[in-house]
């Protein structure tokens, strides 16, 4: 197997609040490979956005990070901001969710590009800057005549394409896309997704695509990681995960997708847990239809399945770690109606 471009090992990002630390990312591991896309799926509040920012070191004050994010032989966690800044852009790029507000309203598109190019490659002269910017924009379908316009003169979809062009003009090896199409309509979404697909092919970029939309993942991602309450509960090739989900949460998620053939609404009862005090053992056990006794007591062990997926679930053993009686179904009180979100 080829060397991973980015390796994340046991990453933890906790925020300090008056109520106690919020464990937004609670021990997450995965790899990114050149030319491949990893989809990171989860409900709102599961910590996926924090994870994306955590990799880049773009967290607010009061966040503590721990673990390893290995890029180019170095651990990015704990690196001084100055070093991180040099990496942001030319090595690791980021595309954000809300394109409407991501461009400085007082600066022309031209100025945005010259700023980012001159910061990282100060030896470029104006003509080269212009050439590279226009190339990047052309790749996104933005004509050169609009180069000197202001952000507010573009639609949401176009602004997102400009953001992608800005991220790509430096040819980063890794791109983190944090819900890039959530704020856009379906047609534009399709365009953006095809652009991102081209990324893999043409530039060999490793893409981390963060989304809550399983459809996008099925379509655009080679591998998928399912996140719940700060942990990755399942990870593997998209094809395998969708066909034979190993984790009950994944399975329930897939069942709740609405499609043209849906006749009744399926949903997972309950709500995602409070991350200041996540449930003991497996975080999903209060809502899991297959929960066993051991699930409430012990953290599940990561397991490699025969299909190649990695799951964190006691249903897959290892049996010798489960105490006697642990495999009995979990007794729980009825989830009160008032507790549902």
């Amino acid at each position: 197997m080829s060397e991973h471009v980015l390796e994340v090992r046991d990453l933890r990002v906790w925020y300090g609040t008056t109520r106690g630390p919020v464990r937004a990312v609670d021990g997450v591991s995965f790899d990114l490979d050149a030319g491949k896309t990893l989809g990171l799926v989860g409900e709102s509040g599961c910590g996926k956005s924090t994870l994306g920012r955590g990799i880049l070191g773009l967290l607010p004050d009061g966040a503590a990070t721990d673990g390893e994010v290995v890029y180019d032989g170095r651990n990015l966690v704990g690196l001084p901001q100055r070093r991180l800044r040099e990496l942001r852009g030319p090595d690791i790029g980021m595309i954000f969710q809300e394109p409407m507000t991501r461009l400085d309203p007082l600066m022309r598109i031209e100025d945005h590009f010259s700023e980012v190019l001159k910061t990282h490659e100060p030896d470029l002269d104006d003509a080269q800057v212009r050439k590279r910017s226009l190339e990047a924009l052309a790749g996104m379908g933005i004509p050169p005549t609009r180069f000197r316009q202001y952000p507010h003169e573009f639609s949401g979809g176009m602004r997102q394409r400009i953001m992608i062009a800005l991220a790509l003009v430096l040819r980063p090896k890794v791109v983190i896309a944090d819900e890039p199409t959530t704020a856009l309509d379906v047609l534009v979404e399709a365009q953006i997704l095809s652009i991102l697909a081209d990324l893999r092919r043409n530039f060999d970029t490793a893409l981390l695509l963060i989304t809550h939309n399983l459809g996008i993942v099925a379509e655009a991602c080679d591998r998928v990681a399912v996140m719940y309450a700060g942990k990755i509960v399942e990870e593997g090739r998209s094809h395998d995960v969708f066909r034979t989900p190993g984790h009950p949460y994944t399975r329930e998620l897939l069942r709740s997708i609405i499609s043209l053939s849906t006749t009744g609404l399926q949903y997972i009862p309950g709500a995602p847990p409070d991350l200041t005090e996540p449930p003991s053992g497996c975080h999903f056990h209060p809502r899991c239809p297959d929960a066993m006794r051991v699930c409430a007591d012990l953290d599940p062990v990561p397991r490699d399945l025969a299909t190649g997926q990695r799951v964190e679930c006691w249903l897959h053993g290892p049996e010798h770690r489960i105490p006697p009686g642990g495999q009995d179904p979990l007794e729980r009180r009825e989830i009160a109606v008032a507790e549902e979100a």
């Binding site: 800044r85 980021m94 507000t101 309203p105 007082l106 800005l166 991220a167």
Partner: protein, 341 residues
């Protein structure tokens, strides 16, 4: 080019909107002046001038005609910039406006410079270094400046710099000799002394300007401190700021080019709003420092019940306010490309 066309359209639309506002102001002034019992002539000169003379003057001025006719005459006069003549000392009001208006203009101009420099400067510092002693000191300074009436600051200034330290003169625009000697071209003493190359006169005039302009300017500037600080705090959290950081733009540039610039945009609008406050403050400053501006004339004529003069001065002030707010809006639109109709 496309952009200047829309700017031009904005200017024209704005101009058209200014007219109804001006009309409303003029009408309000007209009605206010007629609210007082009796007519202006009698009020001002009653008892000082024989009865037939009063009658004659009233007829001449048109106060015995129906209100509607008076109103139309009044609007016509304003349109032709005919402000009339004062009752008590027979000065054409245009003379009052030019001479005393120039004095007020000089004062307010320099006060505005002081306000901008001090207000914006301290506001930016306070926002940049949030929650440090600099921030606290800046904010406290701002609040105290707002809370201190301009005449109180003037009193303290006169006490300290005039009496105790003896550095600065405490009244008037210039010493009597200079006032007598200086040729009037524009009635702006600073400009006139430069035209004349009369450097000792310039020095004298500037010395007289320092206290009133500083006092008025600081008081106005206090408002900007708060405004700029809050704006800066908001822009620093802005989405485009985060996106710029994600592209590896240096922190310095992020703060100065993106956050600061965007934070200052609303300042222009507030400048326009503060203009009215500036005029109010000018009246008080003129009284405190014996500055022969249009504000002191207003007070003097009001005390003498010279309604014609008062009306003329107020109408003139109204026109100036509308014009200035129009200019500020246009300046705002020029700076912020999002503002167009």
């Amino acid at each position: 080019m496309k952009q200047s066309a829309s700017l031009r359209r904005y200017i024209i639309t704005r101009l058209l909107l200014a007219i109804p506002m001006l009309w409303i102001l003029l009408t309000i002034v007209f009605l206010l002046m007629r609210v007082a019992p009796g007519d202006p002539i009698t009020a001002a000169l009653g008892g000082r001038v024989p009865e037939e003379e009063l009658q004659r003057r009233r007829h001449e001025a048109g106060y015995d005609r129906p209100l509607i006719v008076q109103y139309v005459e009044y609007l016509k006069d304003v349109a032709t910039l005919n402000f009339g003549t004062t009752l008590v000392d027979n000065r054409p009001l245009t003379e009052v406006i030019v001479q005393n208006g120039a004095a007020t203009l000089e004062l307010t101009f320099f006060a505005m410079i002081v306000a901008m420099v001090s207000g914006v400067g301290i506001g930016l510092l306070a926002g940049r270094f949030r929650d440090t002693p600099i921030d606290l000191g800046g904010r406290l300074f701002g609040i105290i400046l707002y809370a201190a009436p301009v005449f109180f600051l003037g009193f303290l200034a006169q006490l300290t710099f005039g009496k105790w330290l003896g550095w600065l003169p405490t009244s008037g625009r210039a010493s009597p000799i200079v006032t007598y000697e200086l040729q009037t071209h524009t009635n702006l003493f600073v400009v006139d002394s430069i035209i004349e190359r009369n450097w000792s006169a310039l020095r004298d005039v500037l010395l007289h300007l320092i206290m009133p302009a500083m006092v008025l300017g600081l008081v106005i500037g206090g408002v900007f401190i708060r405004l700029v600080r809050v704006n800066l705090l908001q822009t620093m959290k802005g989405d485009y700021v985060e996106a710029a950081r994600a592209r590896g733009v240096t922190e310095k540039r992020v703060v100065y080019k993106h956050a600061f610039k965007n934070a200052l945009v609303p300042v222009i609008t507030v400048m326009g709003l503060e203009f009215a406050v500036l005029l109010s403050g000018a009246v008080l400053t003129e009284q405190t420092f014996n500055w022969p501006g249009i504000g002191s004339e207003l007070v003097r004529y009001l005390n003498n019940r010279d309604y014609v003069a008062v009306q003329g001065i107020i109408v003139f002030t109204g026109i100036v306010v509308v014009i200035v707010s129009l200019m500020i809006d246009i300046l705002n639109a020029w700076v912020d490309p999002r503002i167009r109709y």
